[in-house]
């Protein structure tokens, strides 16, 4: 809506004989405050992006000039050594990338299936046990046994320690995504549609698969992205349950090399001990770390446009209650 008008609260400008330069939209701030708003918000926005850009620059810095000058936004000498090094010796990195990719894909699919089925069932008003199962899900938002009992259950009852499942199962369902999906099904999929499907003779599962899911894609995208981001960024489950380097996800690898960059070489498929010490000596430690941070973040940057769209949507769906 554009509202252009010459009315201004300032009396001197209301003088009809004063020359009017141009019509100003009175919905807008005065030029001074407008500039201030742009500077303030712009700077904050820049501050949010800057560290990432900084790390990208550091990863392309020459190791020697970094050691000499410290972290600089404009390096004395550029270099791609860190990346070529990683691609030469980064078996561990590749493995961790694979682990993270695997748990992200499998975990997200599992989340989508379990959450959408559960949420759909408790969104139907004719489901007789709706109340009970809603309580089962939502009570977990309020109370939990705590970290230690969960740890003991996962390691001693389910025996998941040092398995891929320890990285997937503990975070594959969340009451919050069920809440979002249930609200979505409730508002977007009226019982009438289901009824029409049933009159045509389709069973509950067929109705769900062919009628409900196709119109629920935005909701699925939202919780799918929530889940994918959670798996991609997870290091906590690995911290608890994974000791085996072959199962280390990307974020945990980053944690490990924070203190011990040689870790990247331990599982590198390179020759004998002499070979390895040589590699340790020439290891561009600082820039390699930064290159790994960049490689771990790049997929998020690419998925960013989707994230932004669906996360906002998720927030708004989650906020709507029936």
């Amino acid at each position: 809506m554009e509202h252009r008008t010459v009315i201004d609260s300032h009396p001197s400008l209301n003088n009809p004989r004063a020359p009017r330069k141009k019509l100003r939209n009175i919905h807008h701030l005065s030029p001074f405050w407008n500039a201030m708003a742009h500077i303030g918000i712009g700077l904050f926005s820049l501050a949010c992006v800057y560290p990432f850009l900084f790390v990208v620059v550091l990863s392309f810095t020459d190791e020697q000039s970094l050691a000499k000058n410290g972290y600089k936004i404009i390096p004395e000498q550029w270099s791609v050594e860190a990346y070529t090094y990683l691609f030469r010796t980064g078996n561990q990195l590749l493995r961790s990338y694979g682990v993270t990719l695997f748990i992200t894909v499998v975990g997200t699919l599992l989340t989508l299936v379990i959450v959408s089925l559960y949420a759909y069932a408790i969104s139907r008003s004719y489901f007789h046990f709706r109340g009970f199962f809603s309580f089962v899900a939502f009570f977990t938002m309020l109370f939990g046994g705590g970290l230690v009992p969960s740890y003991i259950v996962v390691t001693q009852v389910l025996h998941l320690k040092d398995t891929m499942w320890a990285l997937i199962l503990p975070m594959c369902v969340s009451a919050f995504s069920i809440l979002i999906m249930r609200t979505f099904f409730k508002t977007m999929v009226p019982d009438a549609i289901i009824e029409s499907g049933k009159i045509d003779g389709a069973g509950e599962f067929r109705v769900f698969l062919y009628l409900v899911l196709p119109i629920s894609l935005p909701g699925l995208a939202t919780i799918g992205l929530f889940a994918a981001l959670g798996y991609w960024n997870d290091w906590f489950n690995a911290l608890l349950y994974i000791d085996d380097a072959r199962l280390l996800p990307l974020q945990s690898l980053l944690m490990k090399v924070e203190t011990n960059i040689q870790f990247i070489l331990q599982n590198a498929g390179v020759g004998g001990a002499a070979d390895r010490t040589d590699m340790v000596r020439t290891l561009p430690a600082e820039t390699t770390r930064m290159a790994m941070v960049v490689l771990a973040t790049v997929p998020i940057i690419f998925a960013y446009p989707f994230f932004q769209r669906y996360f906002v949507q998720g927030l708004t769906i989650g906020a709507v209650k029936e």
Binding site: M1, H128, E204, M255
Partner: protein
Amino acid sequence: MKGLLRWLKLVGRNKALLLMVLPGFVWFLLFCYLPMPGALIAFKDYQFSRDGFLASMIESKWVGFKNFEYLFKTEDAYLIVRNTLLYNAAFIILGTLFAVLVAIVISEIANKKLAKIYQTGMFLPHFLSWVIVSYFVFSFLSVDKGVLNQFLTWIGADPEFWYTETKFWPYILIIVNLWKGVGYGSVIYLAAIVGIDKSYFEAAMIDGASKWQQIRNITIPMITPIIVIMFILAVGGIFRADFGLFYQVPRDTGALYSVTNVIDTFVYRGLKVTGNIGMSTAAGLYQSVVGFILVLVTNFIVRKINKEQALF
């Protein structure tokens, strides 16, 4: 008998939907409800048994509130509760303040394209893990190469040992937390502002209200209900700390524990580092129970204000 029959009939009639909830139900049982009785470890002298979890639970001796007594006798008990509460209080108050401020300013920016770009930038930190963020922070605070020490040397001051000096960390943690959360936090307020009926502003302008008067007398009062609700809900979670922030950003540095140790990190270290299972479980249970009560109380208050916004 008759009741059972009726119940079975109901199960039969709902069997498709019951099958649908089954995988999720099993998950909740295993990962949420099975650990709940496990919290009884807090009242036991827990000993691992070879025969599995149930055997260890049964064979471990009951010790009553001994674990809690130990916990509250340590200096840590006071520290972790103080840190958790104070940090969270700071996060909630400053976080709300800045998120609302950012939302108002963005809504006033006329160039919607630029506003969108600013917002996109502000969102980014929310999507990054604390591990990545800790690398970012390190690039600023590293003693020998960090940006801040370069700056200090440049202006002729002495460089600081950021990762051993406790006095900086309350500020660092608060700034990092705001940096990560404000952009995303502002979304909900921005949505509320966009939803305000434009005719209020038009009427105000016809009456000659300035921009400031409009913000003070229309925008802020209109979004106050949502601010209050979000605030109260946040207070419900004040006993839970963000593990990643307090563990990753200070790089698990022992010298900083007095200002970075919170309940969540304490429980973790009890479990994985010091191996004090009983006390660790006790601390976790204490957190769960107090957290539960807080959520109930705050939800009750929210219900009083606006039934629509209550969690349950």
